[in-house]
Symmetry: C2
Subunit: 587 residues, 2 copies
């Protein structure tokens, strides 16, 4: 037995007890004849005292300890003279009788403290040291509690966690698969699942009724910031349910998680918004509702007054930032630069201040009479002291997305996006399809198994682009934490869907034959939802990136710099797999 | 809302209630003017009645229902006249007012009942139908409860579930890796983990203190019966522990699981046996202790009496089957054939009966006096009515393994291996190394990170084959459900271990450099254990194979016959991965 107690649990009530602790040396301080060593483990920090008068040899040994040495200390618990109220063990210290060095440590490349990390590259290379920092460790603790509470909730609702296979078939639709060559079947490959979508539907066909799984999924995408090639999904599916049943049950889960993990009581029911409204009012399918600043469309008011930018625009719209009329010219220029950045792509920005007397003063005053400007002010419900910001463009959807970025930036600048406030929302009635310029065809906005809204089914033949789906996303603070849909359970409708998506019947059969076959034997109505665990943990942890709620994340090139993976294979392995590396294609 | 209740929950107390049920048609029976439909879902079966007198049209509709149709029935609960005590809902039936066919079904390829399955090939191809059979579904329910209870126990002991990556580096030691080509890094590959061994050790270096994970692992082995290329491990690791701490904690987990899942109270502490004793007394490192029949070695007694088979043997040993002297010549011949099968490989078998008068009658009487045979009888503690079975051979270890097979077979024949009895055992003190004829060198019996026993460390230089390890297996009913070890935490000792295993320093650094580096920065003493979830669930479920506790298993060629995976890739995918299929090598 290496320890009687952890470094986080001893209190004043333990004074006098003989204890043994084990842990890392956080730091040592020599003061007069005393040496103080802070010992750290996952549970906390305890101060150990070595006294030259009572045991000079032991103190000498303690003086030689380096940072991150692994030690074991035997001694007794004593009340401290100068207590540290910030540390839960701060009322006591250990008077050491024995010190064993369990392992030495070289000087770490960065100090193991919350506010020192040596930068991203070093952190990731030495992730095992980075994880010793309490700030990072707490994220993994939160993640553990989140999965425990999720399982507890779903289990209590009759869900069964069922593992689906990791080695499945490749479906070249959508994102790219990671593939796995099969040695036993040369020339053939498994794929790693992008999600267990079809398998969980088969589980519904098999009568499992309520399924969930917290499961790794894989997507071989060119990594943008905050994407990982492997990520974790809370994957759920239910039978004999309609959309209302699903939203209700998973709203309940969100309420449970917020209460248990953040101590926050959410109000039910969550707000709901159609995809159309979300795009129209916020320019986003995941609006951040911690603050208002809804878009106001200005085509009727601002068009046709000789300002050619607006006169030629397909969309003119703006937001009203309460109380921001104090923005200086410099601040406004910076905002203009912000929306003109290539990532956002606006051509320019028009602004207008509402002055104390109610007059509106704008950057385009020469084109607009005060009367028109007052009309505009009214449309925003703007008051003295408010700032109006307007964008326009020849593509309404693109312009709305630019205006969305501006709105979020103003939210940041005005401090309206408090990480400890949570605004939950269901976005519903998504379009079934979206047009792909790249593929020159309609693509499924969610996936090909999504049920079209019953009332829109006739449109499948006449105007598929107008068809809405029984699909829904849960959005919290502008983050899409999850989404799902009612699925098609009718094989004829599923076949029609594949047809609209450009599958030949052969290709549909080749790729999804097993599902279409299964639907012939009594598929129940079913639907479900999947949450992105990584994103949800980051949200709870108040992190800006998902990376720090993952123990060993990959970098933007998909590399694990600690393990140095991926790496070339031995020739023997390649031979066994009957694979050759092709020469680099000419560029 | 599709249903007010499931098909498993209505009772007599619900009589009179208006309800809506949804589920599958298990079967329909027409009796006089009544049609009875058994509706099935995950939760049970409820009888629905359609009456020609009250609603002829509805009854007509019910008469057309086929097996496995998906239906919704509205009606009210009524007490049955002829109750079915075998069915929890057997006191009631539903008098139907409305019948909706939610989905039709073709005639399934086999009947959805416990005792009809159409054979393994059909079952696996239509696994989604096979899973509808309650016998199969119950295995998945048990698996869910097993993982829930495992998590509950480990969480209560302060373990954190931490996900380790699935895309790691390849380590061509040991079993073969499944590999994953990296499109972003052409010519380079990830590997899927055979276990998170090194990663969980890094988590100990990072101070996580107590880690677990229920996690998919992958091994590209030629599949023997009851192996799967992907399998699930309950993977655990702890810091600042010695072997005793680990055995104690995981014994507690076994006790918890047996109690919660099987209602069995296990006695603690579990029996412990050294690997040496297990091999000597049972010829196996995973002895089935539900019954005795320990091996008795007979070299001293039986050698040198002119029976050349024994005189030339390196090992002579036998077992005593209580009360089996009644075995006929035919039965004994069959046993001899059994041990002579190529899978077992014994040359022959000697037997001896203890007769009512205490005399021993053997198949080699002409070589042995009754005096010698009595001595043998005494060695076994045999009594009148017992049967003694003896094997010999020129390789002691091989002969013991043959005798082990004979012992297990006798256990089966005498009904000593009751699936509802559980004999738990720790096998400890495993050898550190085993000699590989194929590789012509010592290999790690567990893995290269296993700590040698402190007292055996000097032998590393002089007689490595004699070194024992701090390694242990948990064995239940002859099944190794899990195993683990105390790990090396000293980088010098780890380097020495790699050297003994034939790694050059370069190769050790290339493959395990990250771990050896990590050990430089204060690695704590640590150890752990991993359970095979699939095996443990089969044990609880009383299954002979792991396959039926896996939702979608693969066959012996590693194929998923339902998904038809693996399969050839599109040329476009191969090009993107910069891969070519090599021509088939000449045989």
């Amino acid at each position: 037995m290496y320890r009687t107690n952890t470094c986080g649990e001893l209190r004043l009530a333990d004074a006098g007890r003989e204890v043994t602790l084990a842990g890392w040396v956080q730091r040592t301080r020599k003061m007069g004849g005393m040496t103080f060593v802070d010992m750290r483990d996952r549970y906390g920090i305890t101060q150990v005292v070595f006294n030259v008068e009572t045991n000079p040899e032991l103190q000498e040994k303690a003086n030689k300890l380096g940072r991150e040495y692994v030690i074991q200390v035997k001694g007794h618990v004593a009340e401290r003279t100068s207590k540290n109220p910030k540390n839960p063990t701060g009322d006591i210290e250990i008077i050491a009788d024995e010190l064993n060095i369990l392992n030495a440590s070289e000087l770490p490349p960065f100090t193991i403290e919350d506010d020192t990390d040596g930068g991203d590259d070093i952190r990731m290379k030495y992730r095992y040291l980075d994880l010793r920092r309490p700030a990072v460790r707490r994220n993994l603790e939160l993640r553990h509690r989140m999965t425990m509470e999720t399982r507890r909730y779903l289990d209590s609702k009759g869900f069964l966690e069922i593992e689906t296979p990791m080695l499945v078939g490749s479906t070249p639709e959508g994102a790219r698969d990671f593939v796995v060559p099969s040695r036993m079947n040369p020339g053939q490959f498994y794929a790693l699942p992008q999600s267990p979508q079809t398998l969980k539907q088969l589980l519904m066909v098999s009568g499992m009724d309520r399924y969930f799984q917290i499961v790794k999924c894989f997507r071989d995408e060119d990594l943008r910031a905050d994407r990982q090639p492997e990520f974790t999904q809370i994957d759920c599916e239910m039978s004999y349910v309609d959309q209302e049943d699903i939203l209700d049950l998973f709203e309940g889960m969100a309420v449970h998680l917020f209460k248990e993990l953040r101590g926050v009581e959410l109000k039910r029911p969550f707000k709901r918004m159609s995809w159309d409204d979300a795009m129209r009012l916020y320019g986003s399918d995941k609006p951040d509702l911690r603050f208002g600043m809804q878009f106001v469309e200005l085509m009727d008011i601002m068009k046709g007054h000789g300002f050619s930018v607006f006169d030629n625009a397909a969309y003119i719209g703006g937001i009203c930032a309460k109380g921001a009329a104090t923005y200086t010219r410099k601040q406004l220029d910076q905002l203009t630069e912000y929306v003109k950045r290539p990532q956002i792509g606006a051509k320019g920005m028009v602004y207008a201040r509402v002055e104390a007397d109610g007059n509106v003063k704008s950057s385009v005053d020469k084109f607009y009479s005060q009367e028109v400007l007052q009309e505009m002010k009214k449309a925003f419900g703007a008051e003295p002291g408010d700032l109006i910001l307007i964008l326009s463009g020849d593509d309404a959807m693109k312009t709305r997305k630019q205006l969305c970025e501006l709105r979020l930036e103003m939210g940041n600048q005005l401090g309206l996006r408090d990480k400890n406030q949570f605004a939950c929302l269901w976005v519903v009635d998504f379009p079934m399809f979206e047009w792909s310029d790249e593929e020159q065809r309609l693509m499924a906005m969610h996936h090909p198994f999504t049920n079209p809204k019953k009332e829109d089914i006739p449109l499948l033949d006449t105007d598929p682009a107008a068809v809405r789906a029984d699909a829904y996303d849960m959005v919290i603070n502008g983050v899409e934490v999850g989404g799902g849909s009612i699925r098609i359970h009718d094989s004829a409708l599923q076949a029609k869907m594949f047809e609209i998506l450009g599958f030949t019947p052969e290709r549909a059969r080749e790729q999804f034959g097993f599902l279409m076959n299964a639907f012939k034997y009594g598929a129940p109505p079913h639907g479900g939802l999947a949450y992105g665990l990584d994103r949800w943990v980051s949200l709870f942890a108040g992190l800006d990136s998902i990376r720090d709620c993952i123990a060993f994340p990959k970098n933007n090139s998909g590399r694990d710099v600690m393990l140095d993976a991926p790496a070339p294979l031995d020739q023997k392995q390649l031979d066994e797999l009957q694979l050759e590396i092709a020469p680099e294609p000419e560029k």
